[in-house]
Amino acid sequence: MLILTRKLGESIAIGDDIKITFLDLHSKQLRIGIEAPRHVAVHRGEIYRIIQEQNQQALGSDLGLSEVWGRLTQK
């Protein structure tokens, strides 16, 4: 891992089109601005991880779809 020290207002460039700027530091909260092309997915690490885990969990079922749909629509 590359570790850099930056002051507030300074930035880091990643490649030609990604720029991360360090905006503000309040006690233990760091605000950063990210400029990146839209096709580069930028998300908080935890939501990314939660969606990965949900995708993984979605593979688990052995019930047939007809049965699942039947149970979902039974009155």
């Binding site: 092309p37 949900q54 979605a58 688990g60 779809l65």
Partner: protein, 166 residues
């Protein structure tokens, strides 16, 4: 071409019917080719089967069936990424998680799979709208199926790779 699947055995499909994951399904970035399989015409639940890993198949549904007022905000960049030029080419598929004991079904409407039905390219996107949950509980909102049940319509049908009973 023939693809091997754990659930359905070997299936025969046309290569041009595959869906190409141009982005990725998060956590499954190495899987790039999928087949959309309708196993039972009576249900709007479909299989998104990996053509590269026989064991990987997601249950998917058109999210508008579980939430008729679903209004995801899609960015132009997402459309551009998949080269979506016409609205009618834009298809969303939401991944369904089924748990059997106890029976519980949730749909990930926060991170749907965006598909261009024209060129069959796709990617999973993450919406910024926090009101759309990753685990939208379908049993809590069953009445929402009434609209679909009254007028069943598999409106993403042209995406389907194979509709044969397997």
């Amino acid at each position: 071409m023939r693809i091997a699947t754990t659930r359905f055995g070997e299936i025969d499909i046309r290569e041009s019917d595959l869906i190409a994951m141009k982005g990725s399904i998060l956590g499954f970035g190495h899987l790039k080719r999928f087949a959309l399989i309708v196993h039972d015409q009576e249900t709007p639940l479909w299989w998104l089967q990996s053509a590269d890993d026989p064991a990987v198949a997601f249950v998917v549904i058109n999210p508008f069936i579980v939430m008729p007022d679903y209004k995801p905000t899609l960015h132009q960049e997402d459309r551009d990424f998949l080269e979506i030029r016409k609205d009618e080419d834009l298809v969303l598929l939401a991944i369904v998680t089924v748990r059997s004991q106890p029976f519980r079904v949730t749909v990930n409407i926060r991170a749907p799979i965006l598909v261009n039905a024209g060129n069959r390219m796709a990617t999973q996107i993450v919406l910024e709208d926090p009101e759309y949950p990753i685990q939208y509980d379908v049993l809590d909102h069953k009445t929402r199926f009434d609209a679909w049940l009254a007028k069943p319509c598999n409106d993403s049908g042209r995406l389907v790779t194979t509709a044969t009973s397997l």
